[in-house]
């Protein structure tokens, strides 16, 4: 056990003990490796592809300042976290949002936080934002929120944006939804982005690397696998649900190499994603792929 275990959660040891007792001694190693658990295995990598910095516009969240989030992620054993900015949802001055994001990542999370800038293809001269993300801040990718920026994926600007991102070697993270449609603020209802045009867009954009974040609430089964099969497309776990959901996802035909760990922290409790790896029966190679290898490969492909 590493010192990281001592982190704020005082009853972590008890939880692990309870888990071990319930799961049987034989699986103690697995329980430790799998999950809550990220914390117990010092050397194992854990790449969180879905975190946000700054403030969610509608409430304060635990860990919604960068230093606190970075500490939380480190204590949970995260070795790298791909960070967007909540400011990217509603702010119009995205150039400053992205510059701040990069600066925050450097100041509080050097080696841990990797900035993914926001691009809004509805804004005049958005191509300059893209150029600054790639050339100025040297970001490895961008994050898109079509349902907060008021466009659908069949808009011509989307095809152009994906093409330019691919040409610059930027990984594109497309966020389908930020919260449950049923409980949105009455003044801020943003219906989930319709992913239907995606398979076609992926096929017509050579070199595109795409990740779907918060996708699994609205995109499942054949609709999901057809998009994943159209090209270099991955999906995160943040909104995956169901008993033994990760194993069921793989059994349902989603290729292992397309599944990436993503917590959606600090909006979601970080532990949700990590416990999903424990709830499913997964082999060590499967765990290693989801925890980091797939993310590392996807990121490296752009370099």
């Amino acid at each position: 056990m590493t010192a990281r275990l001592a982190a704020p959660r005082v009853d972590r040891r008890d939880f692990l003990k309870a888990t071990a007792v319930a799961a049987g001694v034989a699986t103690l190693g697995r329980a430790g490796e799998g999950a809550a658990a990220a914390a117990t295995v010092g050397s194992s990598e854990l790449v969180d592809t879905n975190v946000y910095l700054s403030r969610w516009p509608l409430s304060r969240l635990p860990h919604d300042d960068t230093a606190a989030l970075a500490a939380k992620l480190r204590s949970a054993g995260v070795t790298q976290a791909w960070a967007g900015s909540f400011d990217g949802l509603l702010h119009r001055d995205l150039a400053s949002v992205n510059a701040r994001l990069a600066e925050e990542c450097r100041r509080h999370g050097a080696g841990l936080l990797v900035p993914f800038g926001s691009i809004n293809p509805q804004l005049p001269d958005w191509e300059e934002d893209l150029r600054r993300c790639a050339e100025g801040e040297r970001m490895p990718g961008i994050r898109l929120h079509p349902n907060y920026h008021g466009y659908t994926l069949d808009h011509p600007a989307v095809a152009r944006l994906l093409r330019l991102a691919a040409e610059r070697g930027l990984l594109v993270q497309l966020v389908l939804v930020m919260e449950d449609e049923r409980m949105m603020h009455p003044m801020l209802r943003a219906a989930p982005t319709d992913p239907k045009p995606l398979a076609g867009l992926v096929r017509q954009t050579p070199g595109l690397r795409l990740m779907l974040l918060n996708a699994q609430r609205t995109l499942r089964g054949p609709a999901l696998t057809s998009i994943l099969g159209a090209g270099e497309v991955g999906v995160d776990l943040a909104m995956l649900e169901g008993v033994g959901g990760v194993a069921a996802l793989l059994a349902g035909g989603v290729p292992l190499e397309r599944v990436l760990f993503g917590s959606f922290a600090p909006m979601f409790y970080f532990e949700s994603a990590v416990l999903k790896l424990q709830e499913s029966v997964l082999s060590e190679p499967q765990l290693a792929a989801i925890r980091g290898r797939n993310a590392r490969r996807l990121l490296a492909a752009g370099r």
Binding site: A18, A23, E179, E271
Partner: protein
Amino acid sequence: MNFEIWDAHTHLSGVPGATPEARMAALLAAADRLGISRLCVFMGMTWHYDPTPELLRQANDEVLRAVRAFPDRVFGFVYLNPKHPQASLDELNRCVRDGPMVGVKLWVALRCDDARLDPLVARATELQAPILQHCWLKITGNLPGESTPMDLAALAKRHPRASFICSHTGGEWARGIRAIRPHPHILAEICGGDPTAGITEMAVRELGAERVLFGSDAGGRSFASQLAKVLGAEIPAAARQLILAGNLQRLLRPFLQARGVRP
């Protein structure tokens, strides 16, 4: 073991298996992997918004089979439909008075401030059975018979001796918590929604930890996402233990004692 986890809310749907016993086994296998030792279960393998008396009996029979297959680990709640008061009273007597079920589940047949609930609540109170009412506040629109936390508050006001569980904490929990706050005999059960950070902290702050219950809503949800709401919350360890098991143990004490189960 000094750290137990009891789940106040699971179902026989959304998990593989052709029989109630097989589905219960699947739920327990996943629960085991997260250290969850006991599960409350209700409603059958197929769900009905507005079940007839026959469908109620069928659903409860399936739950009885699941409970009898795993008597040391599973508690049943009897599913009732207040639109059929006599059939519901009969089911309550059959499944709780005559055993082995321990509570009442009400879903979306009828909004729970309706007077037709009163005889059911009175009988459940005599039997010391807690009443778990599905509550949700949907900006997209509730079902016609779907209760809000405000409806439950109205019902609870008429029944000060009953014991209520506001399931899902009303879905939109920041309003749900406020709606039930004045009524100490309503507990907030935090399952069923996304693991949005802050729900458990707010519930503990506004209601006190002794009024907050862990539940998962598995198989509709994962055990993981729901357990994260408690394990990930910034709350004292003592509060965590109350939420994960202590409060449910207190609520079910009459039944546990009758069955010789030591909480």
